[in-house]
């Protein structure tokens, strides 16, 4: 069962896994170490850089990489809904408080709501920052086989943190599948997420709670099945991690230099 049954706007983790396992582009042959370090550098870069042009270039590069890796870019864009809502809900109010050239003014009793060019710019910058991280994270997950990913996690995190991380990732699959099954049952009898919440709020609340309870129950059964095959608290990685090649070291070096240069050169650069 696919978790895309829940909504087209929620990442389909089965599709993500499927892309990762079937991926045969050049990016799937890049070491997970390289991709992981690039993720760290990207996070650093967007933390220190507030120049919308730099962010736009970075976002375009990542999107281009998604196209080159033949990832389902339309789906990825549809999955932006949640991060966009998250950013707008945070920045929506801040945008009306920024100084700058007035673009829109809404008179209210006793005061006026003013949207400035800097307010719009702030929304744009924060949105781009969020989308850069989301898109690159999806790119990372969709071009890295789970075996490689789990081996990477096992190397990075100490036990039992690595086990918690890996099993929590798998638990996500269970919860999503369970939610999809419940929603299918609701839809099969004419219900829908919004409609059910509006018309049968209590019932839908119970259903929502049941998703978690059932997921935990199934997680217990899965744990039992794992124990029966020798799981003793250590998820053994089924592969070794590919080491970065010289070209990958070069890419990481260039990316690190770009971060340093941005920190030094960009006029809007702040501290850490």
């Amino acid at each position: 069962m696919s978790s895309s049954m829940i909504s087209d706007h929620i990442p389909d983790i089965d599709l993500i896994t499927s892309c990762a396992e079937r991926q045969d582009s050049v990016f799937s042959r890049v070491s997970p170490w390289t991709k992981g370090i690039l993720l760290v550098l990207i996070v650093l870069l967007i933390t220190i850089c507030s120049d919308i042009r730099v962010l736009a270039v970075l976002y375009t590069l990542i999107l281009a990489a998604c196209f080159l890796a033949a990832l389902p870019v339309k789906k990825i864009v549809a999955w932006y809904t949640m991060p966009v809502i998250f950013v707008i809900s945070l920045v929506g109010i801040m945008a009306w408080t920024q100084p700058g050239v007035t673009v829109l003014s809404i008179p209210m009793p006793g005061f006026a709501l003013t949207l400035t060019d800097q307010g719009i710019l702030l929304v744009g910058i924060l949105l781009l920052k969020a989308l850069i991280v989301v898109t690159y994270s999806l790119f990372f997950l969709m071009t890295t086989k789970y075996a490689q990913f789990s081996a990477l996690i096992s190397r990075i995190f100490p036990s039992p943190l690595d086990q918690i991380f890996l099993l929590a990732y798998r638990f996500l699959f269970l919860t999503m599948a369970m939610a999809a099954a419940m929603l299918k049952a609701v839809r099969s009898r004419g219900g829908g997420v919004i409609r059910s919440i509006r018309m049968q709020g209590h019932l839908f609340g119970e259903v929502f709670g049941l998703v978690f309870i059932r997921s935990f129950e199934q997680a217990e059964r899965v744990e039992k099945a794992m124990t029966s095959r020798g799981y003793n608290g250590t998820y053994t990685a089924s592969t070794t991690i590919r080491k970065p090649r010289p070209a990958e070291y070069a890419v990481m070096g260039i990316a690190a230099l770009a971060v340093v240069a941005t920190f030094v050169i960009t006029p809007h650069a702040g501290g850490w």
Partner: protein, 299 residues
């Protein structure tokens, strides 16, 4: 056939040839945390190279017994022996190497992102290096006829495919005993036949002893060497399928219904006034009997 005495703890374990015994569960009681008794006064053995069917209605303790075989559950009172050694002395954690369990719901067993990863899970836990684990997984998938599913995502497999992959996940560990909880439940007739043939092949080709927990008495009649009737958490009776399934009172007392072939044959005998001297247990045996003519009756 042996009918067991459920009232006397330990007195029910009849002696067997120790060279043939792989697993012996002598569970005086297993009580769940809520106080409900899962099994009690249970003596259950798995011998070398046999298919043994645990038959009983829902809630009779079949699944609890299966989990005792693998060490997932330990008797509150009693002992488990592996090849004559009590698991008090043998590492409890080693039981899973002796008895692989195929769970009733394949979804509970298939947790890895791909079929290959899932089948490799057991061999990796056995300490095999990744390449050897991959090889073991490939061989197991080929053995169950699921080699083409190797890179599939378990979520997208059909029920029958999931069951095959679940069995491959256990077979890859090469345990001497495989226990299957309701192996054909929720499957279409074609996949039921595939699983049935696979169970027989596990015994005949690989020399693996197979324990099946089922309330499908027709399946037990067709493939089991030995049948254990379970009732209220204890072995109620055991014997060959012919001995057990032609004892209609016993089957009724155990809360079960006779296998289709046996029921048909007994109905036929009653309607025609024929004495059921011969006791066909499978459809083939019944057809063969009808072809050659029933003793004491003209054709």
């Amino acid at each position: 056939m042996q009918k067991t005495d459920q009232a006397s703890p330990h007195a029910h374990c009849a002696p067997v040839d120790p060279d043939r015994e792989l697993i012996h569960v002598d569970c005086a009681s297993h009580t769940y945390p809520d106080g409900s008794v899962g099994i009690h006064n249970m003596c259950f053995r798995v011998l070398k190279n046999e298919i043994v069917a645990i038959c009983g209605p829902n809630g009779s303790g079949k699944s609890t017994l299966i989990e005792h075989l693998n060490g997932l559950l330990i008797p509150s009172e009693g002992e488990i022996w592996i090849r004559g050694k009590s698991i008090a002395r043998v590492e409890r954690g080693d039981l899973w190497k002796e008895v692989g369990v195929v769970f009733q719901r394949s979804e509970d067993q298939l947790f890895a992102p791909t079929v290959l990863d899932d089948v490799m899970f057991g061999p990796l836990n056995l300490g095999l290096p990744p390449d050897a684990a991959r090889q073991a997984a490939m061989e197991a998938l080929e053995s169950v006829g699921a080699a083409d599913l190797i890179h599939k995502l378990p979520n997208y497999l059909s029920g029958g495919q999931k069951r095959l992959v679940s069995i491959a996940g256990i077979l890859a560990m090469k345990p001497p005993v495989i226990a299957m909880d309701e192996p054909t439940s929720d499957l279409d007739p074609v996949h039921c036949a595939m699983i049935e043939a696979l169970i027989v092949a596990l015994k005949e080709r690989f020399g693996i002893s197979v324990v099946i927990a089922t309330h499908d008495l027709d399946l037990a009649a067709r493939i089991a060497d030995r049948v254990c009737l379970v009732k209220n958490g204890a072995v109620y009776a055991e014997g060959t399928p012919r001995e057990v399934f032609y004892n209609t009172t016993l089957i009724e007392e155990a809360g079960l219904i006779l296998p289709g072939t046996v029921m048909t044959w007994l109905d036929y005998c009653r309607d025609t006034g024929t004495e059921p001297v011969e006791q066909p247990i499978t459809r083939q045996e019944l057809v063969s009997l009808l072809r050659r003519g029933i003793p004491g009756q003209g054709r």
